[in-house]
Each structure stands twice: as C-alpha cells, then as structure tokens.
C-alpha cells in the first residue's frame, strides 16, 4: 500500500492531486463523473471582493494542444461565495481551497479575511498571476516587490495555509518565488497561464475580445516543468506544480522536478474524470517503482 499523502503548510492532502482554479467550478459540476472527495484538494473558481462580470465573449480560442482563455475572473464576489456556495460544498470530504484575486492590495486583504472566517476552508491560493484582468492580478505577480507587498498584507489577515499562485510571464520566476516566501507564504503554485494570442486570418481580427489571453493545456507543460524545477531549487516552501498535466506520468514528471503536489486544469475539460485516473496512476507508478511514500518523488530527478 503506497502512502499518497503529502503536506502543504498545515494541510495534509490525501494525495497530491488537486484540481486547478477556473477549470473545476466549485466541485459539484464534476460530481456526476467521479467522487470528487477522492481528490487531494479542490481549488475553486477565482473569487474577488466584489462581483465581476468578466470579459466580453468570445473568451476562448482553441490552439494546438491547448486553449487560450480570457474569462477575466467572472464571479459573484466573496459575500455570495460565503452565503450561497460555501454551504453547499463545505461538507465535501477534501480540502476546499479558495483562489483569491483582487485589483488592489486592499481588495485582496478584504477577500482573504472573509475566507479566513470559513471553517471548512483550510487554505487559500492567492492569485497574483491572472493575465486577463487589466488593473490587477498579474500586475502584482510580475515584480518581486509587488508580489511581496500583496502577500505580506494578506499574511497579516490570513492565519491558515497561504498558497501563492505565480505567473510564468516573468523573466525570473525564482526571484518572485523567493519574495513570496520571504513575505510569509506557506507554498507557491505554478504556473498560471502563459500570455498568448490567437488571430482569425479570414476575418483579420483577434479571436478573443481582449486580443490576448492565457494559454493552457499540454502545450505549456515544458515551460511549466522548467519553472517548477527552477522554483523548487530557489525556495524551501513546497511547490505545487501545474501546466498541462493530463496523466499520472505528467504528474510524476512535475514531482520529480520538485513539486510536492500538482493541480490538474485544462485536462478536466477533455476528460472530466481525469483527476481520479491520475490518482490511481500515481499509486500504480509508486508500486511499480517500489516507492512507499509518494512524497519521495519530490525533487528526486536524477540530473
């Protein structure tokens, strides 16, 4: 029997497989396809202090081995989440983690403080890397100073496990990760989407209403692996890896590169039960390789 548990800050995950924010709704959307309580964690849709309508349609463009999105953090705001969504998901027997976004430091703090009051939410994932919101998100995540400021402010009001989601749209992700660690983050997760663009040649117009959007899917996996590798060497806190994971082998690759846990995102759209298959596959892999505890894989890459 393989021990699949991993630790992220004060959290114990029953296995290293979580679902990425924005790809899994709040969890119940996938309940027809598998028991979502099997997951190590569910990172729910990005939540902001105030309601957001998101960007105009079209918000999605398919690309080879991936897709671009420009949803723009559509959500009904943290108060709606607390009153209408939280009650229906709080009893799911896994770690419910809320992805928190904002446009100013004050808004991040306001949102995080409200989520902190929810007993059944043991962690937040602070999103300083959304490429689709003009006034915020990624603006904090692309400089070490900006990242430090927002994490430090949220740390003061958020006593539970604080994960910070990093942007790949930077020159040196390791320096951002170090700044975030120094500001008190318990873990970092990466990568968010890669800034990209799609053009409709026939219409001679951009496909997305916002012109640019965030690229996800298997096409970004090599970039994500490289950044997880660089980040894991630069910080002491756990790294949660994501970017194009669609199989147990992909998850193993991220763990070998230094990830303690992984998030599955875009693959949920193609196979809604993919996460359950990854969990089973990790167990099989460990059995095949004589690994007693899955956490032994973290950073075990032989270079």
């Amino acid at each position: 029997m393989v021990d699949l548990t991993v630790k992220i800050g004060a959290l114990t995950l029953k296995n290293p497989v979580m679902t990425a924010s924005g790809t899994f709704g709040y969890g119940p959307e996938y309940a027809d396809f598998f028991d979502v309580a099997q997951l190590g964690g569910i990172i729910v849709k990005g939540t902001t202090a105030d309601a957001r309508e998101g960007n105009p349609y079209p918000r999605m463009a398919e690309t080879p081995s991936g897709m671009l999105n420009a949803v723009g953090l559509q959500n009904k705001g943290v108060d709606w989440f607390c009153s209408h969504i939280y009650p229906s998901i709080k009893d799911i027997d896994t770690n419910i983690i809320v992805n928190v976004s904002g446009s100013t430091v004050e808004k991040y703090v306001e949102c995080a403080a409200k989520i902190a009051a929810l007993d059944a939410v043991p962690a937040i994932e602070l999103n300083i890397s959304c490429p689709n919101v003009k006034e915020g998100g990624m603006a904090f995540g692309v400089t070490a100073k900006g990242a430090f400021e927002v994490v430090e402010a949220v740390r003061k009001v958020y006593p539970k496990t604080l994960i910070v989601k990093l942007s790949p749209n930077v020159t040196d992700i390791a320096s951002i990760a170090r700044a975030v660690e120094y500001a008190g983050a318990d873990a970092v997760s990466l990568i968010n989407t890669v800034l990209g663009m799609a053009v409709d040649a026939e219409r001679q117009r951009p496909v997305l209403s916002t012109v640019t959007g965030g690229l996800s899917g298997p096409c970004i996996k090599p970039i994500a692996l490289r950044m997880v590798w660089q980040t894991a060497k630069a910080v002491r806190i756990p790294v949660i890896g994501m970017g194009g994971i669609a199989s147990a082998a992909d998850a193993v690759e991220f763990m070998l590169a230094g990830a303690t846990a992984v998030e599955i995102g875009t693959a949920n759209f193609i196979d809604p039960a993919v996460s359950a298959k990854v969990i089973t596959g990790l167990s099989d892999y460990a059995g095949r390789h004589g690994i007693a505890q899955i956490c032994e894989l973290t950073g075990a890459l032989r270079v």
Binding site: G22, G54, M60, E62, T63, N69, T266, N268, I270
Partner: protein, 256 residues
C-alpha cells in the same frame, strides 16, 4: 439531470449531402432521459490542431435501440474527424448536456420550428416530441442552396415542411424570415436554431407578432458543464453559460 460519460459505438454514418454527416451512435446500456435542445460533447482524438471536445445537438433519439443520432456539418478538423468515423468505431461522449426547449404547450398549438444549416439538427427531435403531444409542427428550413437542405424526408414525416434557399434552387428564394408562410400569421410558439443573424431575424419576427420564442445558441465552449465560463452569453441576467443556462434561451432573456 445526471450527466454521463460513456463510450458509444458508431452504428451507421451516412452523408446526406457533401459536408454533412448523419451519425448513429449506439450504447451498450439503456439511455437516460433526454429532451430536445440538449446536446452532447464528443471527444476528438488524433487531430493535430484541435484539442477540446465538440458539442453537437441531439438530432434524434431511438431509445428502444439505445441509439442517438447527430447531424454534423464539417467546419474544421474536429468535425471532419468525427464525420469520418466508420461503423464499429467507438466515440467517447458526455451527455445529455444543457437545457431543452419548452415542450409543455397546449395541444393543437400552431408552432414554428425554423433553422438553417446544421442548426436544423435539434429541430427534428423537437418536432417529434411536439408531435407526440398532439401538435403538428411547421418546419421552415433555410439554406444557401438545395445542397444545404438535408434530411427533408425526415422532417416531412413529422410535420408540415417549408423551405427557402438563397439561390432559389429549392423552396422559396430568400431567407427563412422572407417566406410567405410568415405573412399575416401568428404562431403560438416559435423555436429557432441556426446562424446568429438568422436567429436574430426570427427573434425580431417573433417580437413583431408577439409570439413566445426560444433560440438555441452555440457559443464556443470548452468544458460544456459550466466549469470554465468560456461560452457565456450577455443576457439580461448578466453573463450566463450557454452550456448550463442554455443552450436554449427565451428571447426575453437575451439582449437581442
């Protein structure tokens, strides 16, 4: 409504016209209840430039044979791949998705089911359902030319059939909204599915005559189950997912 992810087998694949495919998919298990207007999403493997599932309206259901039919127009690599499937091939499908058309209406109502291109697909299933409720539907189908008007025999077997073509090669020349059957006439209910400008013209006609009207939208989707928020329509209630709040909307919900 419970959603299923199941493997179907291609029982038959016919070409009603160049660029179209009528695929019959069979399941080993009995089918769950499905209503007209709902859709399925089909996984597409082995194609270089596509990645996501493809959504298709349910064209016809044969519950006794555990089969459903999809009417597919080839528009890109993904639909081409699906249209090329051979009998015996397996198909990974998530179904049934979204909400259907309103079918709970008075018997003997005068109803219009109008569509164009592959948008006619859900109207056959809808027409059959209405027929079972004692309503003889009027189909008004439009296409660029006769080659785009497919499955006419199937529609004719279910209700009254009228058609238009832009080049006049079949039925009346023009768009569906120019058809003479709409002159001096009010329908008790209008359903439409097809290209957006066509649906907008039908919606305008319905508003003029004061008829309730439902449209089926096909905004580009990623997940099909309300998780990604990509396929939103800007409705009077704000951005709503076409895959879960629709694909069928009453025109009163829309801003057009």
């Amino acid at each position: 409504m419970t959603k299923y992810n199941r493997i179907f087998r291609v029982a038959d694949n016919r070409r009603p016209s160049p660029g179209y495919s009528l695929i019959r998919l069979q399941s080993d298990e009995s089918l769950p209840p499905m209503v007209p207007g709902q859709f399925v999403s089909v996984r597409v493997d082995g194609v270089q430039h596509t990645f996501l599932r493809r959504p298709f309206s349910i064209h016809n259901v044969d519950a006794d044979d555990r089969a459903l039919e999809l009417l597919i127009q080839v528009v890109g690599e993904g639909s081409a791949r699906i249209a090329a499937l051979q009998p015996g091939d397996s198909v990974d499908m998530i179904f049934p998705l979204g909400n259907g058309f309103t079918t709970d209406i008075a018997p003997a109502s005068e109803v219009l089911l109008t569509g164009g291109g592959a948008g006619i697909a859900p109207l056959l299933f809808l027409g059959k359902e209405l027929r079972q409720r004692g309503i003889v539907p009027t189909f008004l189908l439009g296409g660029r030319s006769a080659a785009n008007l497919i499955r006419m025999d199937a529609f004719e077997a279910v209700g009254r059939l009228c058609c238009t073509t832009e080049d006049g090669s079949m039925g009346e020349r023009g768009f569906v909204t120019q058809h003479s059957i709409l002159q001096d006439r009010r329908f008790d209910f209008i359903y439409t599915c097809g290209p957006r400008p066509m649906m907008a013209a039908v919606a305008a006609y319905a508003r003029r005559t004061g008829s309730p009207c439902e449209v089926s939208l096909e905004n580009t989707m990623a997940c099909g189950i309300g998780a990604c928020l990509c396929c939103v329509e800007d409705t009077r209630q704000g951005h709503q997912c076409v895959c879960t709040a629709g694909p069928v909307f009453n025109i009163e919900q829309l801003k057009w």
